[in-house]
Structures are given as C-alpha cells and as structure tokens.
Amino acid sequence: MTVKLLNTNQIMRQVSYALALGVGAQVYFFGFSVFIQIFLACITGLITEALFLRLRGSEIKPAIIDGSVVLTAILLAISIPSIAPWWIIVLGVSFAVIFGKQIFGGLGNNPFNPAMLGYAFLLISYPMQMTQWPADYLSMGQAVDVIFGLSNIDGLTGATSLDHLKTQLTMGISIQELELNSISQLWINIGFLLGGVYLLLRRIIYWQIPVSLLSGVVVMSTALYLVDSGQFTSSLFHLVNGATMLAAFFIATDPVSASTTPSGRLIYGFLIGILIVIIRVFGGYPDAVAFAVLLLNITVPLIDFYTQPKVFGK
C-alpha cells in the first residue's frame, strides 16, 4: 500500500477539522452557543493538562501541542447541550483530562475514551443540565446570558427527539409525528457522516468500526421494529438521531481505547451499535453512546487477545 504518512499531531488535527461540518450544522440550528462551549472546553482542557503534566513532572509543550486534549475537549463540548451552564463543560473537561487520560499516563495509555468518560460523569451527576437542549436558534447575546447564568433559561429549552421517544410515546404521540420532528438532528448527523467519510478517505480511521457500529444499530433497531412497529422506531430514526454518526466516526474510532485488530474492530463496533439501541430504548438515559462506548472499552483487551490475526507461517 502507498501511504501518505501523517504524524500523530497531524492525525489529531485532521480529526478536529473533520468535525467542522457537523459542528456547522449544530451552529446553524442552535446558534453560536456551540462555539462558546468549544472555546470553554479547549481552554479548560489545555490548562488542566498543563497543570497535571506539571504535577507529574513531565514535559508540557509536546503534550499540549499534540492536539489530543483539544480533540477531547471539542468532542465533549459538542456532545453536551449547547446551553448548558459554563461550569458543566469546565467540570466535564477537567474530569475527562484528569480521570480519563492523565491518571493513566497521558496520551496512548487511557483504557477509556476520555470525552465519553467526561460525558458519563456529567450525565450521571447533572442529569437536568445535561438534557436541556435549546428549543430554537439562540443569538450570541442570548447564548452568553444563558451559559453564564445571566438570565433564566425557561422557555428556551426543549427536549430532543430521543427524549420524546421516552416521554411522548406514553402520551399517545405516534412514532410518525416524532420522526418528522428531528430535522436538526438529521442535518447534524449528516454533517458528522460527511466528516467521517473524509477521515475514511484520508485513511485516518479504518472502515471496520463505523461500518460495524452502524450495522449494529440497524440490526438491533430493525429487530425491535419488526417485533412491534408501534412501540419501536425504525432504524433510520436511530441512525439520524442523537450522537449516532458522531459515535460511529469520531468517538468509537478513537484508536487508543478501541480494539486494534481488524476483526476485533468489527466486533467492537457492532456491539457498540447494539448497545446504543438497547440503552436508548430500554435504558434510563436519553442517549446511550457514552455508556455503550465505555462498556466496550472495558472489553478491548479481551477482544484484542481473541482476535489476533494469523501470523505468517503459523
């Protein structure tokens, strides 16, 4: 194979650039609050990482410029509601950097996806703030007011389509009505899908995880849909709602915490896909990506061990 060789820093940067379309769609629907969150996240991430590296007595500059902490920060910032108060993202990113990454020895040594660890921490600790999404586009002024607590957020928030799945169905609203509701989710997911395709073409990520993850989602949701189409949504709903595409191309593909063998990646992705649907449908939280990814992170050493490729001459 001919390879255009990228170094680790360039890989991190390319992944961050590839997020642009999805982030753009978020900004289009929710406003510039997304940028404020990203900005807060990056600053927090860099400061936390620098402080921790100093405590560990390691060199600060190479770790700061490798782009990995910025990527973690951005991923977490775009996963949380864009109108969450400022301390949510600050707390989440600090937690992600310290307990998700530095405590294990920094880049390359973390068993869990740091951004998802931060997300799970926030979701469990602050469920209210973590589930209030903006109902409409917010202007810059409104965004600043909301994030820094200068004005009341009542009236600005709404539930996401995944929330509706949990609550509205019991109130007699049909699946069809719900599916129409999620136009913003659709475009955001398309944005991340396109970014992911770019990463695939640049050979920065391998096809196995995204393809198997999306297949997992389709297989599980179709199975449920076939059982009862009145109670369960179609696979298309699951594919274009929540963080499905972000998970498939940007989160589950984090090489450090993912399986590293070719067939192991298929198993890893597929099981995440299955779990996403199961947790969304039967679990207590609206979105399931973080838990699904973290659960599979734990199994990576096992998967890697049992999926070693056949070695030449053995």
Binding site: V3, L5, L6, T8, I11, Y206, V256, T260, T261
Partner: protein, 505 residues
C-alpha cells in the same frame, strides 16, 4: 501465471535514483583490512603471519566449521598486521582482522583447484567443496556460507534466484545483472546441476527494466523463468518471496529448504559462477554508494577489505554533517564513522545529510503498523508489552516471528523506533531462556547428585548386608565345621579311651 500475495509491505520509491546503472570497476586499493569473523559461526583462524607475502586469491584464514567460509587475500602484497578492529556491526565489538598492503601487481595464486574440467562432469560434492574453498557466502546480507545452504537444500524442486534487491536505494544487484547477464544464467545452470532442482525462477522487481531485458536476452534455458514482480519492500525476504512466487508459506521455525526450495541471491550466483567455472574465489563485490549527501550515486565493483573511505573517494560528497549507514535504510545499521572495510555482505554504503530527528510520541494504537506488517503481527501490541518488559506476553503475541523489516517503524505516526524495542525484547527472551536452561541444568545436576548419593548409600547398605550374610554363613559354616571337628575329636577321644580301657581291660 501467478500471483499469490502476502499482506503488508511498503511501496517505497528509490530515494537515491541513479541515471545510469553501471558497474564501475575501481582501481586496486592500497590496503585491505579483512575481517576474520563473518556473520554467524566462529571466527576464521589466520594461516599467514605478519610480514608474509600473499598473492591475490590465496587463502589467508580458514576454519573447520560448516557455518564459516575461508577468507582470501583480495590483493597481492604483504601482510602488515593481524590485529583487532571494530567491526561494522551494531554491537561495536572488536574482532580479528588481517591487513594486507598492496604491491600494486595483483599477482594471482594458482586457483585451479579440484574440478578443473567442465563442471557438468564433476560430482556435486566436488562442486560443494569448490564453493567452500572459494569462500562464497550469501551476498544479499545474511552472509551464510553458500556450500552449506546448497547442501541443506539437496533434492529441492525449485531454485529461486533472489534478484529483488532487498531494499530501496540499493542497486548493486541490478548493476551486476546488467553487467554480467550470462554469468547469472550460467551460474543458475551450475546450481541446477548440483541441487537437481527441476526449475529455476529469477525473481526480479519491475523497477529494474534494463536488468530484466539483459537477462531475457541471454536466457535460453527453458528451465529458467524470469518472474517480474511489483516493486514492494520486503518482497526480498526469503519466506515472503516464496509465498509470493509459489504460494508456499514456510512454517515458523522452518527454512525454505524444508519445503524443497533453495533461494539464492543473484550476487551469490555470480560469485559461484566465478568460483566453479572460472576458478576465481570471492575477492570482490558490487557495492552501491549513495545517499542524500552523495551528488551522484554509483555502483562500484571493489576488492573486499577496501575501506569505506576509499569507496567514498569515487563519489562527490556534499558539505555538512553526515549520517553513515550500511546495508540499507530499513534494515541496515548506522555507523559512527567511515573507518570500516567492505566485507562479503556489504551491499551498500549510504551517506545522508544529517536531519534533525523527529520527536517520538506515545503510541495511539492507530494500527497502521499492523496493516504494513508482512508477517501479520500486531506491532502495537508487541510494543506495548516490550515497553513494559512483559516478555512472556510479547512472545505470546509472536514476537519471535518478527523479521525486523522496520515497515512498522517507517509508518509509525508517533515515530517510535518499534523494531529496537523488539530486538531488545528478543534479547531479554534469549537471556530468559538461557537462564531457565541453566536453572534446569543445575536442578538436573542436583537431582542427579542426590540420586547418586542415595544410590551409593543404598548400594553400600546392600553390600554390607550381603557381606553380613556371607559372614554369618561363614560363621555358621565355621561353627558347623568346628562342631564337626569337635565331634570328630570327641569320637577320637572316646575311641582312644575305649581303646585304652580295652587295653587296660
């Protein structure tokens, strides 16, 4: 026909393109330094002494070891020193070398030994012997004595001539093939004659069109085919070549000869032709001199033992600090100076401009390395376990199957010198095995000693017991005898007294 394929490998462009692949014969060096140690096996023992005059082609050192080949004087002149020099090897260890100062005459010794008639009429054994005394070893880099390798493969079905040029940047084999295509073909015929293979395949990569044309022009033997393969790094590795050409995967721990294939480097084939047909021992070889600091790369046919400095005097070298390496960019080694001499397996000397080394980062398990590994290992896992010195785990992940081709280090986005870690782990493993063996030996010795002591004790006891019994028996016997004697005496006594009383009476 074909193709089987092996996974991984790298398509690499030649970093030092050469306009005209010529083989340039350079004048005799004033002095040669010939190392006694070849790659594996024991060191050859000099049979000349300081001050002695030697002729070109004369054997100056020999050893009775199948893994070694004798060393010949590569010029005529006087032996001026037999002393230790640092070898061009990673270890930086010193070894014995014979230094000869040229008299400029290049006077040859009579080398027409053994089978001097046409080789077709000679037995395989005669030819083996001739290859051995001609000092021929694998010239692709391994330096394994050819006579041993050919003998091991006796009865093989296929002969593969490796003309792939093992690494990008090296063109000495291509130069050799262009210069001596007939020698290549005739050399193969000699090999076919002795190893009795049915066919020979010349494996050559498609970036050597001139060499391919030259070989095709002179190849008129229907048992010899020329296989043009895509240029890909690590195709030159023997086992991978076999997989590619024949679809045979040599099992781990086995050799090509175990599956009925003999693989020879094209340079070795030419050297063998010279030895068997022209009675010329191995005293020179083709060396590629190239590098980013070399203005025009060249292939030089040079006498063995000539110094790198002498080689480099035939090319223009740019100013600045340089990095010196030999035997390739991927699997070669870096040297600290040019103060070394050409040996039988020196295929190239590269002089590169010194670049700032890129900082190493942590492994992010991106897995690029496992896509390029030609033997399907998981280099990132090997690295993880090597770094933590978890050697058992690394061995479980097939550390020992690593061919150290450096494809993984080449593509690593974090610039980790992966193969260095593996070499280190392998060394640790070897030590572990050795220590284990030693413990095992010690335990066995101890147990045997215990056993022996126990046995001695038992045997002694048994002996004592036996002695006792014998003694008892003897005593009983003695007693009985004594009793018998006493009884007899008594009888005599009684008889006497009876007689006495009779006499009295």
């Amino acid at each position: 026909m074909l193709k089987y394929k092996y996974n991984g490998g790298l398509k690499l462009d030649n970093p030092y393109p050469i306009n005209e692949i010529d083989l340039i014969r350079i004048p005799l060096p004033d002095k040669v330094v010939l190392p006694m140690q070849q790659r594996i096996g024991n060191q050859a023992i000099p049979i000349v002494s300081v001050g002695e005059r030697v002729l070109t082609g004369q054997i100056i050192a020999t050893i009775d070891d199948q893994r070694c080949a004798p060393v010949h004087a590569s010029i005529s002149g006087t032996v001026v020193a037999i002393d230790e020099h640092v070898y061009a090897h990673k270890s930086g260890l010193k070894g014995l070398c014979v230094t000869i100062e040229s008299d400029g005459k290049d006077e040859w010794v009579d080398t027409s030994i053994g089978c001097t008639e046409r080789y077709e009429t000679c037995t395989a054994n005669t030819i083996y012997n001739k290859i051995r005394v001609s000092g021929i070893v694998g010239m692709g880099g391994a330096g394994f004595p050819t006579h041993t390798k050919v003998r091991l493969a006796e009865g093989c079905h296929t002969l593969i001539v490796n003309a792939t040029e093992c690494e990008p940047g090296i063109t000495c084999d291509a130069a050799l093939m262009e210069a001596y295509p007939t020698k290549v073909i005739r050399g193969i015929e000699v090999l076919l004659h002795i190893c009795k293979a049915e066919r020979a395949i010349i494996a050559i990569e498609d970036d050597k069109q001139d060499a391919i044309a030259a070989l095709k022009k002179f190849c008129n033997n229907e048992n010899i085919s020329i296989e043009v393969m895509p240029t890909k790094y690590t195709s030159g590795a023997e086992k991978l070549l076999l997989k590619y050409l024949l679809g045979i995967e040599v099992p781990t721990g086995k050799f090509a000869s175990d599956v009925g294939v003999l693989c020879q480097n094209v340079g070795t084939v030419v050297a063998m032709f010279d030895a068997v047909v022209e009675n010329r021992p191995l005293i020179s070889r083709a060396v590629t001199v190239a590098g980013s600091a070399v203005k025009e790369s060249k292939n030089l046919q040079v006498r063995l033992g000539a110094s790198y400095d002498y080689l480099l005097s035939f090319v223009d070298i740019k100013e600045g600090s340089h990095k010196i390496s030999m035997n390739g960019l991927m699997m070669g080694i870096e040297l600290d100076s040019t103060n070394y001499s050409v040996s039988k397996n020196t295929n190239c000397v590269f002089i590169d401009q010194l670049e700032e080394s890129k900082p190493t980062k942590e492994c992010i398990r991106c897995g690029l390395c496992n896509t390029v590994c030609p033997v399907d290992l998981l280099p990132q896992q090997l690295y993880w376990y090597s770094k933590s010195k978890n050697i058992d785990k690394a061995v479980e992940y097939n550390l020992l199957d690593c061919i150290e081709c450096n494809c993984c280090s080449y593509v690593c986005p974090s610039q980790i010198p992966l193969v260095n870690y593996y070499q280190y782990s392998k060394a640790l493993y070897k030590q572990q095995v050795k220590e284990k063996q030693q413990t095992e030996n010690a335990r066995e010795r101890f147990e045997f000693r215990e056993l022996r002591l126990e046995r001695n004790k038992r045997e002694r006891a048994e002996m004592m017991e036996a002695k006792k019994i014998v003694l008892k028996e003897k005593m009983a016997k003695d007693k009985a005898q004594k009793a018998a004697i006493e009884a007899a005496l008594e009888r005599v006594e009684t008889a006497k007294s009876a007689q006495g009383s009779q006499d009295d009476g």
